[in-house]
Amino acid sequence: MEAPDDLQRAIEAALFAAESPLSLADLATVIGIDTDLRPALAKLESDYAGRGINLVERGGRWHFETSADLAHILRRTREDPRKLSRAAIETLAIIAYHEPVSRAEIESIRGVQISKGTLDVLMEAGWVRPAGRREAPGRPLTFATTRGFLDHFGLQSRRDLPGIDDLRAAGLLDPVDIALEQLEVETIADEA
Protein backbone atom coordinates (compact mmCIF):
# COMPACT_ATOMS: atom_id res chain seq x y z
CA MET A 1 0.00 0.00 0.00
CA GLU A 2 2.05 2.88 -1.27
CA ALA A 3 1.35 6.52 -0.50
CA PRO A 4 -1.68 7.83 -2.38
CA ASP A 5 -1.37 10.60 -4.94
CA ASP A 6 -3.33 13.85 -4.71
CA LEU A 7 -6.25 12.57 -6.75
CA GLN A 8 -6.56 9.46 -4.61
CA ARG A 9 -6.40 11.54 -1.44
CA ALA A 10 -9.10 13.85 -2.73
CA ILE A 11 -11.36 10.92 -3.65
CA GLU A 12 -10.72 9.35 -0.28
CA ALA A 13 -11.69 12.51 1.61
CA ALA A 14 -14.69 13.24 -0.59
CA LEU A 15 -16.15 9.76 -0.16
CA PHE A 16 -15.45 9.84 3.56
CA ALA A 17 -17.24 13.15 4.08
CA ALA A 18 -20.13 12.42 1.71
CA GLU A 19 -23.51 11.80 3.25
CA SER A 20 -24.46 9.27 0.60
CA PRO A 21 -22.59 7.14 -1.97
CA LEU A 22 -21.19 9.11 -4.89
CA SER A 23 -21.25 8.26 -8.59
CA LEU A 24 -18.25 8.91 -10.82
CA ALA A 25 -19.96 12.10 -12.01
CA ASP A 26 -20.65 13.27 -8.42
CA LEU A 27 -17.04 12.65 -7.52
CA ALA A 28 -15.76 14.53 -10.55
CA THR A 29 -17.95 17.49 -9.59
CA VAL A 30 -16.86 17.49 -5.96
CA ILE A 31 -13.18 17.22 -6.77
CA GLY A 32 -13.45 19.54 -9.74
CA ILE A 33 -11.49 17.33 -12.04
CA ASP A 34 -12.39 16.04 -15.46
CA THR A 35 -10.39 12.86 -15.83
CA ASP A 36 -11.27 9.22 -15.58
CA LEU A 37 -11.43 8.46 -11.88
CA ARG A 38 -11.64 4.70 -12.32
CA PRO A 39 -7.93 3.89 -12.02
CA ALA A 40 -7.66 5.95 -8.83
CA LEU A 41 -10.74 4.25 -7.39
CA ALA A 42 -9.34 0.82 -8.27
CA LYS A 43 -6.11 1.69 -6.51
CA LEU A 44 -7.96 2.86 -3.41
CA GLU A 45 -10.16 -0.22 -3.47
CA SER A 46 -7.10 -2.45 -3.31
CA ASP A 47 -5.44 -0.21 -0.68
CA TYR A 48 -8.37 -0.75 1.62
CA ALA A 49 -9.03 -4.40 0.72
CA GLY A 50 -7.49 -5.91 3.84
CA ARG A 51 -8.43 -3.15 6.25
CA GLY A 52 -11.28 -2.59 8.71
CA ILE A 53 -12.81 -0.16 6.25
CA ASN A 54 -13.41 -1.05 2.61
CA LEU A 55 -14.11 1.02 -0.46
CA VAL A 56 -17.05 -0.54 -2.28
CA GLU A 57 -19.10 0.12 -5.38
CA ARG A 58 -22.82 -0.56 -5.39
CA GLY A 59 -24.85 0.22 -8.48
CA GLY A 60 -22.31 2.62 -9.90
CA ARG A 61 -21.94 4.54 -6.63
CA TRP A 62 -18.95 4.43 -4.35
CA HIS A 63 -18.71 4.62 -0.61
CA PHE A 64 -16.67 3.49 2.36
CA GLU A 65 -18.12 0.95 4.72
CA THR A 66 -16.84 -1.07 7.61
CA SER A 67 -15.67 -4.51 6.66
CA ALA A 68 -18.47 -7.08 6.79
CA ASP A 69 -16.60 -9.39 9.17
CA LEU A 70 -16.49 -6.57 11.75
CA ALA A 71 -20.24 -6.04 11.79
CA HIS A 72 -20.36 -7.41 15.33
CA ILE A 73 -18.52 -4.31 16.51
CA LEU A 74 -21.23 -2.06 15.15
CA ARG A 75 -24.00 -3.95 16.82
CA ARG A 76 -22.93 -5.02 20.20
CA THR A 77 -25.26 -7.02 22.34
CA ARG A 78 -25.04 -6.38 26.00
CA GLU A 79 -26.49 -8.86 28.42
CA ASP A 80 -27.99 -7.45 31.57
CA PRO A 81 -28.42 -10.11 34.26
CA ARG A 82 -31.96 -9.78 35.53
CA LYS A 83 -34.49 -11.60 37.64
CA LEU A 84 -38.16 -11.95 36.82
CA SER A 85 -40.59 -10.03 38.98
CA ARG A 86 -42.51 -12.07 41.51
CA ALA A 87 -45.64 -11.75 39.40
CA ALA A 88 -43.77 -13.00 36.33
CA ILE A 89 -42.13 -16.01 37.95
CA GLU A 90 -45.44 -17.05 39.54
CA THR A 91 -47.25 -16.68 36.26
CA LEU A 92 -44.58 -18.74 34.57
CA ALA A 93 -44.88 -21.43 37.24
CA ILE A 94 -48.65 -21.59 36.85
CA ILE A 95 -48.36 -21.88 33.09
CA ALA A 96 -45.75 -24.61 33.47
CA TYR A 97 -47.85 -26.62 35.96
CA HIS A 98 -51.23 -26.12 34.33
CA GLU A 99 -50.67 -25.58 30.63
CA PRO A 100 -52.51 -24.85 28.46
CA VAL A 101 -54.00 -22.22 30.70
CA SER A 102 -55.92 -19.01 30.03
CA ARG A 103 -55.21 -15.65 31.55
CA ALA A 104 -58.36 -15.82 33.68
CA GLU A 105 -57.27 -19.21 35.01
CA ILE A 106 -53.84 -17.89 35.86
CA GLU A 107 -55.43 -15.03 37.75
CA SER A 108 -57.78 -17.34 39.62
CA ILE A 109 -54.89 -19.59 40.67
CA ARG A 110 -52.68 -16.68 41.72
CA GLY A 111 -55.54 -14.90 43.41
CA VAL A 112 -54.37 -11.62 41.88
CA GLN A 113 -54.69 -10.05 38.46
CA ILE A 114 -51.70 -10.10 36.18
CA SER A 115 -50.68 -6.93 34.43
CA LYS A 116 -50.35 -6.81 30.66
CA GLY A 117 -46.59 -6.65 30.72
CA THR A 118 -46.16 -9.86 32.69
CA LEU A 119 -47.05 -12.25 29.87
CA ASP A 120 -45.16 -10.02 27.40
CA VAL A 121 -41.98 -10.39 29.43
CA LEU A 122 -42.35 -14.17 29.49
CA MET A 123 -43.03 -14.34 25.77
CA GLU A 124 -40.13 -12.01 25.02
CA ALA A 125 -37.86 -14.24 27.11
CA GLY A 126 -39.00 -17.04 24.80
CA TRP A 127 -40.44 -19.19 27.55
CA VAL A 128 -44.17 -18.84 26.96
CA ARG A 129 -46.19 -19.01 23.76
CA PRO A 130 -49.84 -18.64 22.90
CA ALA A 131 -51.28 -22.15 22.66
CA GLY A 132 -54.53 -21.70 20.77
CA ARG A 133 -57.99 -20.78 21.92
CA ARG A 134 -60.04 -22.90 24.23
CA GLU A 135 -63.37 -24.16 22.90
CA ALA A 136 -65.30 -22.52 25.71
CA PRO A 137 -67.41 -19.37 26.11
CA GLY A 138 -65.39 -16.33 25.11
CA ARG A 139 -62.87 -18.62 23.38
CA PRO A 140 -60.05 -17.49 25.68
CA LEU A 141 -56.50 -17.63 24.45
CA THR A 142 -54.39 -20.15 26.31
CA PHE A 143 -50.68 -20.14 27.05
CA ALA A 144 -48.09 -22.88 27.29
CA THR A 145 -44.36 -23.13 27.82
CA THR A 146 -41.78 -23.56 25.07
CA ARG A 147 -38.78 -25.72 24.35
CA GLY A 148 -36.67 -22.71 25.38
CA PHE A 149 -38.34 -22.80 28.79
CA LEU A 150 -37.34 -26.44 29.33
CA ASP A 151 -33.80 -25.67 28.17
CA HIS A 152 -33.36 -22.68 30.44
CA PHE A 153 -34.63 -24.47 33.53
CA GLY A 154 -32.76 -27.66 32.76
CA LEU A 155 -35.82 -29.85 32.32
CA GLN A 156 -36.17 -32.80 29.97
CA SER A 157 -39.91 -32.42 29.93
CA ARG A 158 -42.67 -30.91 32.02
CA ARG A 159 -43.00 -34.23 33.84
CA ASP A 160 -39.68 -33.40 35.53
CA LEU A 161 -41.39 -30.60 37.45
CA PRO A 162 -41.73 -31.65 41.07
CA GLY A 163 -45.29 -32.41 42.17
CA ILE A 164 -47.05 -30.61 45.00
CA ASP A 165 -46.14 -33.38 47.47
CA ASP A 166 -42.49 -33.11 46.51
CA LEU A 167 -42.67 -29.39 47.11
CA ARG A 168 -44.15 -29.88 50.54
CA ALA A 169 -41.55 -32.47 51.42
CA ALA A 170 -38.87 -30.05 50.33
CA GLY A 171 -40.35 -27.39 52.61
CA LEU A 172 -41.23 -25.19 49.69
CA LEU A 173 -44.72 -24.51 50.91
CA ASP A 174 -44.19 -21.41 52.96
CA PRO A 175 -46.24 -20.92 56.10
CA VAL A 176 -49.51 -19.30 55.15
CA ASP A 177 -49.03 -16.04 56.98
CA ILE A 178 -45.65 -15.43 55.33
CA ALA A 179 -47.03 -16.18 51.90
CA LEU A 180 -49.94 -13.83 52.53
CA GLU A 181 -47.64 -11.09 53.71
CA GLN A 182 -45.59 -11.41 50.56
CA LEU A 183 -48.73 -11.17 48.51
CA GLU A 184 -49.71 -7.98 50.26
CA VAL A 185 -46.30 -6.46 49.71
CA GLU A 186 -46.50 -7.32 46.05
CA THR A 187 -49.97 -5.85 45.67
CA ILE A 188 -48.84 -2.61 47.24
CA ALA A 189 -45.76 -2.53 45.03
CA ASP A 190 -47.89 -3.14 41.92
CA GLU A 191 -50.23 -0.34 42.84
CA ALA A 192 -47.42 2.09 43.55
Partner: protein
Protein backbone atom coordinates in the same frame (compact mmCIF):
# COMPACT_ATOMS: atom_id res chain seq x y z
CA UNK B 1 -9.35 61.35 12.41
CA UNK B 2 -12.12 62.96 10.42
CA UNK B 3 -12.02 60.27 7.79
CA UNK B 4 -12.11 57.60 10.49
CA UNK B 5 -15.37 59.05 11.73
CA UNK B 6 -16.79 59.28 8.26
CA UNK B 7 -15.76 55.73 7.66
CA UNK B 8 -17.56 54.55 10.74
CA UNK B 9 -20.59 56.60 9.84
CA UNK B 10 -20.76 55.00 6.44
CA UNK B 11 -20.48 51.58 7.97
CA UNK B 12 -23.25 51.99 10.47
CA UNK B 13 -25.39 48.99 9.91
CA UNK B 14 -28.64 47.86 11.38
CA UNK B 15 -27.20 44.56 12.54
CA UNK B 16 -25.80 46.04 15.71
CA UNK B 17 -28.85 48.05 16.62
CA UNK B 18 -29.07 46.48 20.04
CA UNK B 19 -25.90 48.32 20.96
CA UNK B 20 -26.44 51.75 22.44
CA UNK B 21 -23.15 53.21 21.28
CA UNK B 22 -24.82 54.71 18.26
CA UNK B 23 -22.07 56.80 16.74
CA UNK B 24 -19.23 54.51 17.63
CA UNK B 25 -20.84 51.20 17.10
CA UNK B 26 -17.79 49.85 15.32
CA UNK B 27 -16.05 49.69 18.67
CA UNK B 28 -16.83 47.72 21.70
CA UNK B 29 -16.21 50.37 24.26
CA UNK B 30 -13.44 52.91 24.84
CA UNK B 31 -10.76 50.29 25.46
CA UNK B 32 -11.46 48.83 22.05
CA UNK B 33 -11.19 52.26 20.44
CA UNK B 34 -7.97 52.96 22.34
CA UNK B 35 -6.50 49.70 21.13
CA UNK B 36 -7.32 50.58 17.55
CA UNK B 37 -5.64 53.95 17.98
CA UNK B 38 -2.64 52.32 19.64
CA UNK B 39 -2.28 49.87 16.76
CA UNK B 40 -2.28 52.85 14.43
CA UNK B 41 0.91 54.00 16.12
CA UNK B 42 2.44 50.94 14.48
CA UNK B 43 4.79 50.23 17.34
CA UNK B 44 4.97 47.41 19.82
CA UNK B 45 2.35 47.98 22.47
CA UNK B 46 5.11 47.83 25.09
CA UNK B 47 6.77 50.85 23.44
CA UNK B 48 3.59 52.80 22.97
CA UNK B 49 3.43 56.44 23.97
CA UNK B 50 0.51 56.69 26.30
CA UNK B 51 0.59 60.46 26.06
CA UNK B 52 0.29 60.34 22.29
CA UNK B 53 -2.49 57.80 22.62
CA UNK B 54 -4.40 60.02 25.00
CA UNK B 55 -4.04 62.90 22.57
CA UNK B 56 -5.43 60.81 19.74
CA UNK B 57 -8.38 59.60 21.78
CA UNK B 58 -9.29 63.10 22.90
CA UNK B 59 -9.00 64.42 19.36
CA UNK B 60 -11.15 61.61 18.10
CA UNK B 61 -13.88 62.32 20.63
CA UNK B 62 -13.68 66.06 19.88
CA UNK B 63 -14.09 65.38 16.17
CA UNK B 64 -17.06 63.15 16.82
CA UNK B 65 -18.67 65.85 18.94
CA UNK B 66 -18.00 68.44 16.26
CA UNK B 67 -19.93 66.20 13.90
CA UNK B 68 -22.67 66.08 16.53
CA UNK B 69 -22.43 62.34 16.70
CA UNK B 70 -24.09 60.85 19.64
CA UNK B 71 -21.40 59.51 21.91
CA UNK B 72 -22.12 56.94 24.54
CA UNK B 73 -21.43 57.95 28.12
CA UNK B 74 -18.59 55.51 28.74
CA UNK B 75 -16.54 57.05 25.91
CA UNK B 76 -16.98 60.45 27.54
CA UNK B 77 -16.05 59.09 30.95
CA UNK B 78 -12.90 57.63 29.43
CA UNK B 79 -12.20 60.95 27.71
CA UNK B 80 -12.50 62.80 31.03
CA UNK B 81 -10.29 60.29 32.77
CA UNK B 82 -7.67 60.45 30.01
CA UNK B 83 -7.73 64.27 30.11
CA UNK B 84 -7.02 64.03 33.82
CA UNK B 85 -4.27 61.48 33.25
CA UNK B 86 -2.73 63.71 30.58
CA UNK B 87 -2.61 66.70 32.89
CA UNK B 88 -1.06 64.58 35.64
CA UNK B 89 1.58 63.30 33.29
CA UNK B 90 2.42 66.78 32.07
CA UNK B 91 2.40 68.59 35.39
CA UNK B 92 5.37 68.52 37.74
CA UNK B 93 5.39 65.25 39.57
CA UNK B 94 3.41 65.06 42.78
CA UNK B 95 5.34 62.56 44.90
CA UNK B 96 2.33 62.12 47.19
CA UNK B 97 0.02 60.96 44.42
CA UNK B 98 -1.02 57.37 44.84
CA UNK B 99 -1.33 55.78 42.47
CA UNK B 100 1.14 57.81 40.51
CA UNK B 101 0.14 58.97 37.01
CA UNK B 102 2.94 56.78 35.66
CA UNK B 103 1.36 53.77 37.29
CA UNK B 104 -2.06 54.69 35.87
CA UNK B 105 -0.53 55.00 32.43
CA UNK B 106 1.22 51.68 32.86
CA UNK B 107 -2.03 50.03 33.91
CA UNK B 108 -3.72 51.30 30.79
CA UNK B 109 -0.86 50.02 28.72
CA UNK B 110 -1.03 46.59 30.36
CA UNK B 111 -4.75 46.37 29.78
CA UNK B 112 -4.30 47.25 26.13
CA UNK B 113 -1.64 44.57 25.79
CA UNK B 114 -3.94 41.97 27.31
CA UNK B 115 -6.89 42.86 25.15
CA UNK B 116 -4.63 42.89 22.13
CA UNK B 117 -3.25 39.45 23.01
CA UNK B 118 -6.74 37.98 23.29
CA UNK B 119 -7.84 39.62 20.06
CA UNK B 120 -4.90 38.00 18.29
CA UNK B 121 -5.57 34.69 19.96
CA UNK B 122 -9.21 34.81 18.87
CA UNK B 123 -8.18 35.53 15.30
CA UNK B 124 -5.69 32.66 15.35
CA UNK B 125 -8.29 30.32 16.74
CA UNK B 126 -10.77 31.26 14.05
CA UNK B 127 -8.10 30.83 11.42
CA UNK B 128 -7.42 27.23 12.39
CA UNK B 129 -8.60 24.34 10.28
CA UNK B 130 -12.03 23.91 11.70
CA UNK B 131 -14.39 21.00 11.58
CA UNK B 132 -17.31 21.64 9.27
CA UNK B 133 -15.40 24.32 7.35
CA UNK B 134 -11.97 22.97 6.51
CA UNK B 135 -12.07 19.51 7.96
CA UNK B 136 -14.90 17.06 7.73
CA UNK B 137 -16.00 14.12 9.73
CA UNK B 138 -17.56 11.00 8.31
CA UNK B 139 -20.66 12.09 6.43
CA UNK B 140 -22.80 9.10 7.18
CA UNK B 141 -21.43 7.08 10.07
CA UNK B 142 -23.10 3.75 10.62
CA UNK B 143 -23.16 4.37 14.35
CA UNK B 144 -22.30 1.96 17.12
CA UNK B 145 -25.44 0.42 18.49
CA UNK B 146 -25.71 -1.38 21.76
CA UNK B 147 -28.54 -3.84 21.88
CA UNK B 148 -29.51 -4.55 25.43
CA UNK B 149 -30.65 -8.02 26.11
CA UNK B 150 -31.94 -9.40 29.36
CA UNK B 151 -30.06 -12.42 30.63
CA UNK B 152 -32.58 -14.02 32.96
CA UNK B 153 -30.96 -15.54 35.97
CA UNK B 154 -34.04 -17.31 37.36
CA UNK B 155 -33.44 -21.02 37.90
CA UNK B 156 -35.60 -24.04 38.52
CA UNK B 157 -35.59 -23.40 42.24
CA UNK B 158 -37.07 -19.92 41.71
CA UNK B 159 -39.76 -21.47 39.53
CA UNK B 160 -40.87 -24.24 41.83
CA UNK B 161 -40.62 -22.18 44.99
CA UNK B 162 -42.83 -19.60 43.30
CA UNK B 163 -45.35 -22.32 42.57
CA UNK B 164 -45.02 -23.56 46.11
CA UNK B 165 -45.84 -20.15 47.52
CA UNK B 166 -48.92 -19.86 45.32
CA UNK B 167 -50.11 -23.23 46.51
CA UNK B 168 -49.32 -22.34 50.07
CA UNK B 169 -51.36 -19.17 50.07
CA UNK B 170 -54.29 -20.40 48.01
CA UNK B 171 -54.83 -23.64 50.02
CA UNK B 172 -54.34 -22.44 53.59
CA UNK B 173 -56.81 -24.82 55.35
CA UNK B 174 -55.33 -28.01 54.03
CA UNK B 175 -51.97 -26.65 54.83
CA UNK B 176 -52.71 -25.88 58.50
CA UNK B 177 -54.28 -29.26 59.25
CA UNK B 178 -51.41 -31.07 57.74
CA UNK B 179 -48.95 -29.17 59.82
CA UNK B 180 -50.48 -29.29 63.30
CA UNK B 181 -51.22 -32.62 64.95
CA UNK B 182 -54.10 -32.42 67.43
CA UNK B 183 -56.23 -34.78 69.57
CA UNK B 184 -59.87 -34.24 68.69
CA UNK B 185 -62.64 -34.40 71.27
CA UNK B 186 -63.87 -37.67 69.78
CA UNK B 187 -60.42 -39.22 70.03
CA UNK B 188 -60.09 -38.06 73.66
CA UNK B 189 -63.53 -39.40 74.59
CA UNK B 190 -62.70 -42.73 73.06
CA UNK B 191 -59.40 -42.97 74.91
CA UNK B 192 -60.82 -41.91 78.27
CA UNK B 193 -63.71 -44.40 78.02
CA UNK B 194 -61.30 -47.21 77.25
CA UNK B 195 -58.91 -46.34 80.09
CA UNK B 196 -61.70 -45.88 82.67
CA UNK B 197 -62.91 -49.38 81.76
CA UNK B 198 -59.65 -50.95 83.02
CA UNK B 199 -58.68 -48.59 85.89
CA UNK B 200 -61.00 -48.25 88.90
CA UNK B 201 -59.11 -46.04 91.38
CA UNK B 202 -58.65 -42.24 91.25
CA UNK B 203 -56.14 -41.18 88.60
CA UNK B 204 -54.79 -37.81 87.55
CA UNK B 205 -56.10 -36.46 84.20
CA UNK B 206 -52.50 -36.21 82.98
CA UNK B 207 -52.15 -40.00 83.37
CA UNK B 208 -54.78 -40.51 80.70
CA UNK B 209 -52.81 -38.53 78.08
CA UNK B 210 -50.94 -40.28 75.27
CA UNK B 211 -47.17 -40.38 75.69
CA UNK B 212 -45.64 -37.77 73.30
CA UNK B 213 -42.51 -35.62 73.09
CA UNK B 214 -44.46 -32.94 71.14
CA UNK B 215 -45.58 -30.28 73.64
CA UNK B 216 -48.15 -28.91 71.18
CA UNK B 217 -49.70 -32.34 70.75
CA UNK B 218 -49.67 -32.82 74.53
CA UNK B 219 -51.43 -29.51 75.13
CA UNK B 220 -54.05 -30.42 72.54
CA UNK B 221 -54.54 -33.83 74.20
CA UNK B 222 -54.85 -32.20 77.65
CA UNK B 223 -57.48 -29.73 76.42
CA UNK B 224 -59.60 -32.34 74.62
CA UNK B 225 -59.24 -34.87 77.46
CA UNK B 226 -60.43 -32.24 79.97
CA UNK B 227 -63.52 -31.52 77.86
CA UNK B 228 -64.04 -35.29 77.44
CA UNK B 229 -63.81 -35.75 81.24
CA UNK B 230 -66.47 -33.09 81.79
CA UNK B 231 -68.66 -34.78 79.19
CA UNK B 232 -68.28 -38.20 80.89
CA UNK B 233 -69.11 -36.65 84.27
CA UNK B 234 -72.21 -35.05 82.75
CA UNK B 235 -73.26 -38.46 81.37
CA UNK B 236 -72.76 -39.99 84.86
CA UNK B 237 -69.96 -42.23 83.66
CA UNK B 238 -67.11 -40.60 85.62
CA UNK B 239 -66.46 -38.82 88.89
CA UNK B 240 -64.25 -35.68 89.09
CA UNK B 241 -62.41 -34.30 92.08
CA UNK B 242 -59.91 -31.48 92.76
CA UNK B 243 -58.64 -30.75 96.27
CA UNK B 244 -57.82 -27.10 95.63
CA UNK B 245 -57.19 -24.57 92.83
CA UNK B 246 -54.54 -25.80 90.41
CA UNK B 247 -54.29 -29.13 92.25
CA UNK B 248 -54.24 -32.16 89.93
CA UNK B 249 -57.65 -32.99 88.47
CA UNK B 250 -58.58 -36.52 89.65
CA UNK B 251 -60.75 -38.84 87.64
CA UNK B 252 -62.48 -42.19 88.50
CA UNK B 253 -64.97 -44.41 86.73
CA UNK B 254 -68.49 -44.29 88.15
CA UNK B 255 -70.26 -47.65 88.45
Amino acid sequence: MRDLCDHKLGKRDSVNDEILTLALDGWEGPLDLLLMLARNQKVDLREISILALVEQYLTFIEDARALRLEIAADYLVMAAWLAFLKSCLLLPRDVEADPSPEELALRLQLRLQRLDAMRDAGARLMGRDRIGRDIFLRGAPEGLKVIRQSAWTDDLYDLISAYGSIQARTAPVVHMVARRSVVTLDQALERLKKMLGVHFEWMRLEDFLPDTPDPAYRRSALASSFVAALELARLGRADLAQETHFAPLMLKALR
